[in-house]
Amino acid sequence: MAKTAAKKAEKVAGSPAAALLQHYRDMLLIRRFEEKAGQMYGMGLIGGFCHLYIGQEAVVVGMQAAIREGDSVITGYRDHGHMLACGMDARGVMAELTGRSGGYSRGKGGSMHMFSKDKRFFGGHGIVGGQVPLGTGVAFAAKYARTDAVCLTYFGDGAANQGQVYESFNMAELWSLPVVYVIENNQYAMGTAVSRASAQVELSRRGESFNIPGRQVDGMDVLAVKAAGEEAVAWCRAGKGPIILEMKTYRYRGHSMSDPAKYRSKDEVQKMRAEHDPIDQVRARLLGENLADETALKEIDREVKAIVAEAAEFAQHSPEPDPSELMTDITL
């Protein structure tokens, strides 16, 4: 289905226009998927925690475009977008959200805990900052095996204050590990604004005392993300060690589904959506520069909606895990 959309840009296949159209489609898939997840949560079909990625789509889509097969990705608990960007099946992700046997973890992991060996997606971690040493270790393994693979290790502005992040920075630089630390600075750690929790609010500078270079990136602009990502990945592949990309981004929804939203104004959210939306920006550009027409974009919309509808359908009809699953997969 993605191929159908890409066909429209066939005459410019492999061109920046085709790439941009692909980014549009990938971001839109995450947006629609998350909207559907939010809706299903409201209907009681998804339990527990559910952290939506809406607003931040340009970060994972841009970064994913900067890596290649063999590279790895790891993130925290706001992970649905990362999994879709990695190419994981929307049905498997949604069915995990509903806790069904068709989910990536067969219903035993939930929203925060999914993995794909196939796509080299290492989770899905629920402890703030926990994925940072883990991702550093994945990068260690890449270097140990003498490959030039890199590991994208995502974490948020909240995790950026965790001690283990700095323990990881230290070892990553000390041992020149190929890890790109992608700080998704969406401005709020749960309900606490960066300035209320961080002595140094420029998170890209958090590696300075370890000699890790950092760049601040407009995380709402997929092309800016991709360009910064390509530079960072090249830095790692060249054996120069870790690098930090601080993505200035924004989440439109609450921290999780139960968020009183008292810590920011509706106007602030509205202004961000109206002026910086990552998908609208690309859409305007595609149309403005005549890289795609309304019909082509509508077709992408339809395709994405169909994928999400199918995922939601699958997630509701996939059976719950068999009770015998309770006591399996504890040890090998």
Partner: protein, 448 residues
């Protein structure tokens, strides 16, 4: 006035060492603070600094002499008359200057021979320390994905010399000194395991692993389950656990029941050198995360160890190390020594104790325990850890579930006292369980 220089101790538990080198010769004039000699234990080398001043008149113990007991006079100084306040006491000891060495383990003690011997093939006498090193070296030769990381494991040769020689053989890419950041490097190790390597993460002691317990449990133990069986974490966390000697409350804690509580973890706590080697090899080969609890005091003890590199000990199997009909004593790690010593004492009193070395704490070998209980009808558990929610509690509950009708007396627990570890020598001794406590408990359950 002649002053004796005495063989100094690195720690209260050191009883002897080697006079490795004299840096002065007879006739030299010595000033306080001069480094005059180097002494060695199996774990550390230290410089001996002069406290008293004068002319070294005689070296009593030549360089290279081994097994020199602490407080043995090793040289004589003729003090200078004009020196004010010179202490003429012949007992003035030299001041050891250690180089960041951790407390020394006590001198090797003769192991109490296990009555039951497995078919181990040809054996050699080895310390637990050497057995652990050989296990790692053999597995590293066997599988290039195995590597060792931890504090002081490489250039320093191991804080407790367990990794001695590994850097030379395997190089800095596979024997990796880490910063003192347990949380970070434990997590990094788990990440490497997720990505297909087989890390051995050494904690200088398990006391420091408390900073890393989040990764041991949340990242290593739970991932296989959370991923629906897709993603394993084959990693070994190892290091000394429990009390050493006189190192105070923060450095003297048994974590056995902490880790044994966690589904997804395998928890091993060997006593003998053979089991230490065979189980560490099994742990490294295991596809699961393994917490491998060693004991500092056991490091220097010698046991017969198989020389066959393919010999391993299966995880999850306890061992009857002494047969008996009157009572079952269940123990692990250093508590096995207490149990065996108690069994000797009890035998003299006509009580034949069966001693089970659990070796693996999770999964627990219920079958071996229950079979023994059905024979003896009485059980005492022994552990260094705290009593509340400890291994003994688990063992007692397990026996109730599986062999209640076979019990002729309540199961009794011999444990460490329910207090943070005191420093004072007498209080520490009171806080830790010993053979006498085991003997008393056995008398209580046998009613004789």
């Amino acid at each position: 006035m002649a002053i004796q220089i005495l063989m100094p101790a690195l720690s209260p538990t050191m009883t002897e060492g080697t006079v490795a080198k004299w840096l002065v010769k007879e006739g030299d004039t010595i000033k306080a603070g001069d480094v005059i000699a180097e002494i060695e234990t199996d774990k550390a080398t230290m410089e001996v600094e002069a406290v008293d001043e004068g002319v070294l008149t005689q070296i009593l113990v030549p360089a290279g002499t081994e097994n020199v007991a602490v407080n043995t006079p090793i040289a004589m100084i003729e003090g200078e008359e004009q020196q004010a306040g010179a202490t003429p006491a012949p007992t003035a000891a030299s001041q050891p200057v250690t180089t960041k060495a951790p407390p020394a383990s006590p001198a090797p003690a003769a192991p109490i021979a296990a009555q039951e011997t497995e078919d181990m093939g040809p054996t050699q006498s080895q310390t637990v320390r050497e057995a652990l090193r050989d296990a790692m070296a053999e597995e590293m030769r066997r599988d290039p994905a195995v590597f060792l990381m931890g504090e002081e494991v490489a250039q320093y040769q191991g804080a407790y010399k367990v990794s001695q020689g590994l850097l030379d053989e395997f190089g800095a890419e596979r024997v990796i000194d880490t910063p003192i950041t347990e949380y970070g490097f434990a997590g990094l190790g788990v990440g490497a395991a997720l990505a297909g390597l087989k890390p051995i993460v050494e904690f200088m002691t398990f006391n420091f692993a408390m900073q890393a317990i989040d990764h041991i449990i949340n990242s290593a133990a739970k991932t296989l389950y959370m991923s629906g069986g897709q993603q394993s974490a084959p990693i070994v966390f190892r290091g000394p656990n429990g009390a050493a000697s006189r190192v105070g409350a923060q450095h003297s804690q048994c974590y056995a029941s902490w880790y044994a509580h966690v589904p997804g973890l395998t928890v091993v706590a060997p006593y003998s050198a053979a089991d230490a080697k065979g189980l560490l090899k099994s742990a490294i080969r295991s596809p699961n995360p393994v917490v491998f609890l060693e004991n500092e005091i056991l490091y220097g003890r010698s046991f017969e160890v198989p020389t066959n590199e393919d010999w391993t000990v299966p995880i999850g199997k306890a061992k009857v190390v002494r047969k008996g009909r009157d009572v079952t004593i269940v123990a692990f790690s250093i508590a096995v020594a207490h149990a065996l010593a108690a069994a000797e004492t009890l035998a003299a009193a006509g009580i034949e104790a069966e001693v089970i070395d659990l070796r693996t704490l999770r999964p627990l070998d219920v079958e071996t325990i229950v079979a023994s209980v059905k024979k003896t009808n009485r059980v005492v558990s022994v552990e260094e850890g705290w009593p509340f929610a400890g291994m003994g509690a688990e063992i007692a509950a397990t026996i109730m579930e599986h062999a209640f009708d076979w019990l002729d007396a309540p199961v009794l627990r011999v444990t460490g006292k329910d207090v943070p570890m005191p420093y004072a020598a007498n209080l520490e001794k009171l806080a830790l369980p010993g053979p006498d406590d085991v003997v008393a408990a056995v008398h209580a359950v046998t009613y004789r």
